[in-house]
């Protein structure tokens, strides 16, 4: 009973805190080009908030650890791509929510009939939640094998994942990847821990591989389809953080010092990202918009 209460309070506090993070200055950061856009941003932000309790539940289910679940939500809230899309009129936040909900149902519900119904509902709602997906809009041509391979390698490159993500075009943060570069060690630890669990890897593989193939086969490649996997990346980072904390508990003092330095680096990169998003990103958007309006 205490555990359930603790979990409920953790989810509640995280969701309430994320209200501030997602809705504060939604009309100002990034700058609004027209008032109609604000409604679209509210919808994106709402779906992004709704994903958070689901990620917490999934983290609890996968690791039985409230710490890992908490950090999974934490890393999703501060994931650069998640922040970028949750505060724009984004076509992918709704499908990300429905996909995360579907995965949560698959992992928590045992009855086959309910799982089947969930699958049918999920597939039925894909065109509604993601109407701009390229297979619905009809491609002008089909990609060839070299193009597919190039897109595949772009998606799994460290540059896209940790340093430079331009999937959203001119509205992208650009100087940040999908995740913060300082979380690379956490990603490696978390991935190896996740892959060790054979039962889970089947579902997890689907969660990444399907968006991956959709993105790689898109003739007009942007990589936006991979956004659906961002809760999965957050879960991996959460597992990695749990692994690091468990290792830190039984380490001699020198390694503990190294971990302390790493923690300072993480804190710094979070501060740097928040500063960039709040100060530099709006300035860049305004200047780029002014330049485009003058020259095009």
């Amino acid at each position: 009973m205490q555990n359930k209460m603790g979990n409920f309070l953790t989810i509640l506090s995280l969701t309430v805190l994320s209200f501030f993070w997602h809705y504060y200055l939604l009309g100002g950061v990034p700058p609004l080009m027209s008032r109609e856009v604000l409604f679209g941003r509210i919808i994106s932000a709402t779906f992004s908030i709704l994903v958070l309790p689901l990620v917490f539940i999934l983290g609890l289910r996968l690791t039985q650890s409230r710490v890992a679940a908490f950090f999974s939500v934490f890393w999703l809230v501060f994931m650069p791509w998640h922040v970028e899309q949750s505060r724009l009129v984004s076509p992918v936040t709704a499908i990300t929510f429905s996909t995360t909900l579907y995965i949560a149902v698959l992992l928590t519900v045992q009855r086959r009939l309910l799982r089947f119904l969930a699958t049918v509902a999920y597939i039925y709602f894909i065109p509604i939640t993601y109407p701009t997906l390229w297979i619905f809009t009809g491609p002008d041509y089909f990609i060839d094998i070299p193009g597919f391979l190039k897109n595949s390698f772009l998606i799994i490159s460290s540059n896209f994942l940790f340093f430079e993500n331009k999937a959203f075009g001119s509205g992208s943060l650009k100087v940040y990847g999908v995740m913060l570069w300082s979380t690379l060690p956490l990603f490696i630890f978390g991935l190896s821990r996740l892959m060790a669990n054979a039962r889970l890897t089947r579902i997890i593989r689907l969660w990444f591989l399907l968006p991956f193939f959709l993105a790689a086969m898109n003739p007009d490649y942007t990589g936006m389809e991979v956004f659906v996997s961002t809760p999965l990346f957050a879960l991996i980072l959460g597992f990695g953080t749990l692994t690091l904390i468990e290792e830190a508990k039984r380490l001699p003092s020198l390694k503990f010092l190294l971990l302390g330095t790493y923690a300072v680096l993480i804190a710094y990169s979070l501060m740097e990202f928040t500063h960039y998003y709040g100060v530099h990103y709006p300035v860049r958007i305004i200047k780029e918009t002014q330049y485009a309006s003058r020259h095009f």
């Binding site: 390698f153 490159s157 460290s158 540059n159 570069w181 740097e272 100060v279």
Partner: protein, 147 residues
Amino acid sequence: MEKLNLYFRGVCDLFSIRQDLPHQLWDGATADGGTNLLGTRLIHNKIMIITTHFFRCYSLPLDLFFLGQLTSVGIIVFLTVGFFLVSRRQRFFYLPFLFIPFMFIFPGNWSVEFKLQIYRYYIHLLPMVVAACLLIAIVQRRMRYAK
């Protein structure tokens, strides 16, 4: 895969990081507006700019997209699968991957083309070593079963 991206040719090394430093500092300070000097210096300082660029330059030669341009997809796939099939001791053959990025970051006397050629030789030699290790493991297992 298309020809090796010219962006990499000599751009991501210690010299280019140092060249970009004044621009990054100026860009950061200008956007901040100069109202809070301490805050600006805390966020935009040489240590962190160099650290970020260094990690980016380090990850570039290990990037699968870069490797795909340097060699064939088949070799990359074989090397990845081979890593999981060989024993822990034999994984030491992959260790040079961790040190090769330093060859590109620190300029030295070698040209970029020469460094890329060394990297290419290593990537093409490694599958042969891995294949030999796997073959030896298969033969040993068969001999064990034959006994």
